[in-house]
C-alpha cells in the first residue's frame, strides 16, 4: 500500500488511507479518487533549485525520469551532491527510485530538493541509502511543492556500525505531502541526527514521519523537529523510536515543538518510544503552543514593531534546528529558505 505502487499501476486501491494507522492524518485514499495520467518527459532546461550551485555535481530527476539510478561514493571520497526531484507537469503522475551507497570511510553531503514547478501533480520518490562502516552522510532536504501537489518521499536508510548520519528536512508542505525516513540503526557507536522544519500556511499539509529501529547496543539518536502553522494548514509529526531487545545503552532523544499562529491551523503529533532493552537513556518532549509573549514584549520594548518581533522570534524558534546543520553553505541556504518562507507568510 504505497503511493509509488499506485502511481506505477494506476490502481487507486493501492493508496494508503486513514484506516491505516500510520496514515490516518495523511489520507491519500480519500483524497485521490482517480490518478492523473503518466507524466511526459520535460525538454526544457531547469532553473536553479533551492541549493543553487552548491556542491560538486547534480543529479536531476525530472517528472520521474532518472538519468542515474544509483550513486556510489567510493571509500575515501568526500562529495557534495545535489539531488533534485523536479515536477514540471500539471495533472500528471510519476515516481522515481534511486539508491546511494556510501562506502567505508567515505563522506557524502546530499542536498536533496523536491521542486514543484507545476500545479496538480502526484509524485513519489524512494531513496535507498546505505552507509558502510565509518561512512558519514549529511542529508539536507528542501521540499517546495506546488499548491495542488501530492508528494510522498520515502528514504530507507541502513547504517553500519560506526557510521554517522545527519538529516534535516525542511518543507512548506503541499496539498498533501509526507516526507518519511526509516532508519535501521546498528548501534556500535553509530550516531544519528534526524531533524525537521515545517512552515505551513493556507491549506497546505505536511507530514514528517520517522521510524528509527535500534537493533544493537550503544547507538545514539537525536531528533529535533519544529513547525510553524498558520491559516488552515495542518502539520503532522510522527516519530517512532524502537529500541529492540539487546540494544542496551541506547541513547535516544526526540523533540517536537510547534507554533500555531492561527485558530484554524492544526498540528497532530505522535511521538512514540518503544523500549525493549535495558540501561537506555530515552526521552521525548512535545509542545504545541503560541509565541512566547514575554519574549515578544522584550523585543518590542527594544523597539521592534509587533510584526518584526514576531518574525524574528519565529525565525529564531526554527533557527535552533537550522543551526544544527553541519555543512556551512547548506546551513546558510536553509536559513535563507526559512527566512523567505516566513516573509511570504507575513
Amino acid at each position: 500500500m504505497t503511493l509509488a505502487a499506485a502511481i506505477r499501476s494506476g490502481d487507486v486501491t493501492l493508496l494508503p488511507g486513514k484506516r491505516d494507522e500510520d496514515w490516518r492524518w495523511t489520507d491519500l485514499r480519500g483524497l485521490l479518487r482517480t490518478l492523473p495520467a503518466p507524466s511526459e518527459a520535460e525538454a526544457a532546461p531547469l532553473d536553479p533549485g533551492p541549493f543553487g550551485d552548491l556542491g560538486d555535481e547534480e543529479i536531476a530527476v525530472v517528472n520521474g525520469r532518472v538519468d542515474v539510478a544509483s550513486l556510489t561514493i567510493a571509500a575515501g571520497q568526500r562529495r557534495t551532491v545535489r539531488l533534485r526531484f523536479v515536477s514540471t507537469c500539471s495533472d500528471c503522475r510519476h515516481e522515481a527510485r534511486l539508491s546511494i551507497n556510501v562506502h567505508a570511510g567515505a563522506e557524502l553531503t546530499l542536498l536533496e530538493s523536491h521542486e514543484g514547478q507545476a500545479h496538480g501533480y502526484v509524485t513519489a520518490a524512494s531513496l535507498d541509502l546505505r552507509v558502510e562502516d565509518h561512512g558519514k552522510v549529511e542529508r539536507i532536504v528542501i521540499a517546495e511543492d506546488g499548491d495542488g501537489a501530492v508528494n510522498v518521499a520515502c528514504a530507507a536508510v541502513v547504517l553500519a556500525p560506526g557510521a554517522r548520519y545527519a538529516q534535516t528536512t525542511l518543507t512548506d508542505g503541499a496539498k498533501r505531502q509526507r516526507l518519511e525516513t526509516r532508519l535501521d540503526h546498528p548501534g556500535g557507536g553509530a550516531q544519528v541526527r534526524l531533524d525537521g522544519i515545517y512552515i505551513l500556511a493556507g491549506q497546505r499539509h505536511a507530514d514528517l514521519t520517522t521510524v528509527v529501529e535500534h537493533e544493537c547496543p550503544d547507538g545514539t539518536t537525536t531528533q529535533l523537529t519544529k513547525g510553524v502553522v498558520d491559516g488552515q494548514a495542518r502539520g503532522v509529526f510522527q516519530g517512532r523510536i524502537v529500541v529492540a531487545e539487546g540494544a542496551d545503552r541506547t541513547d535516544a532523544r526526540m523533540g517536537h515543538h510547534a507554533l500555531i499562529l492561527s485558530e484554524r491551523a492544526e498540528v497532530d503529533a505522535k511521538p512514540e518510544l518503544e523500549i525493549y532493552a535495558d540501561d537506555v537513556a530515552c526521552a521525548h518532549g512535545n509542545t504545541v503552543g503560541a509565541l512566547d509573549l514575554e519574549a515578544l514584549f522584550y523585543a518590542r520594548q527594544r523597539g521592534m514593531p509587533e510584526p518584526i518581533a514576531r518574525a524574528l522570534l519565529t525565525e529564531a524558534f526554527l533557527g535552533e534546528v537550522v543551526d544544527r546543520i553541519g555543512h556551512e553553505d547548506a546551513r546558510e541556504a536553509a536559513r535563507a529558505w526559512v527566512a523567505r518562507r516566513l516573509e511570504a507568510r507575513a
Partner: protein, 248 residues
Amino acid sequence: MLRIQNLHADVGGKEILKGLDLVLPAGEVHAIMGPNGAGKSTLSYVLTGRDGYEVTAGSASLDGEDLLALAPDERSARGVFLSFQYPLEIPGVPALTFIRTALNAQRRARGEPEANAPEFLKLARAAAAALKIDFDMLKRALNVGFSGGEKKRMEILQMAMLKPRLLLLDETDSGLDIDALKIVADGVNALRSPDRAMLVITHYQRLLDYIKPDRVHVLADGRIAASGGPELALELEREGYDKYARAA
C-alpha cells in the same frame, strides 16, 4: 522629562499602583526603593506598556507626550529603555542580530537612516569593549546559557547602543558580584547626560554606592511614601522599610 500623576494600575484585577506621583527631570538620576511587592516592577512594566498591566487612572508623559497611549515599540523609539530584572533568553537569535533589528526598527520609526553592517559592528565592538564583554559572545544566541551577571551586562550593552533618553533600571544589581557590579555601574554612569534621565529601581542600597542618585523615593503600597536626597537610601539601609509599610 518624565511626569507621572496619580497613576493607578491593576495586574490581574488587583490594584498594585494606587496613586503614584513622580517628576523626573532631564539630567537627573532618581532611585525608587521599596520592599518586595510594593509595585516597583509594576511601575517599570506600566511605563513600558506590557500587556496585563492595566492603567485605571492617572497619567504618565514623556516630554509632554502621553506615554500610555503608545505601543511598547513606539515608546522605545521615543527613547524609553527598560533594563529587565530577568532578561529574556532568545534562543536562535544572535545578540548582534537582535540588537541590530531593534536599532534599525527604532531608527526607521524616527525617520533616521538605518545603520549599515560596518557602522553597526563598529558600534557593537566599542560598546562590548567598554563593558568588558568578549565580542564573540555577541555572536551567540542572546542570553542563552549566559550567567546572571552576563545577562545584566548585555542589558547595559543594549542600552549603550540604543542610546535611550529615559532609562529604567529594574533591580540591575541582582545577581551581580562586586566586580560585575562596578562594570555595570561604570556603563550606566557613562550614559549620564543632561538630556537623559534615569530611574533606578532597587531593593538594596548597594547599587546606589556606584550609581549616585540625585533623589531617592520610597515606594510602598503603590505610592511614593517619602522622597529625599541620597541620605534617604542610607537611612533605609539602616532602618528598613517597616515604618513605611506600617504607614501604608
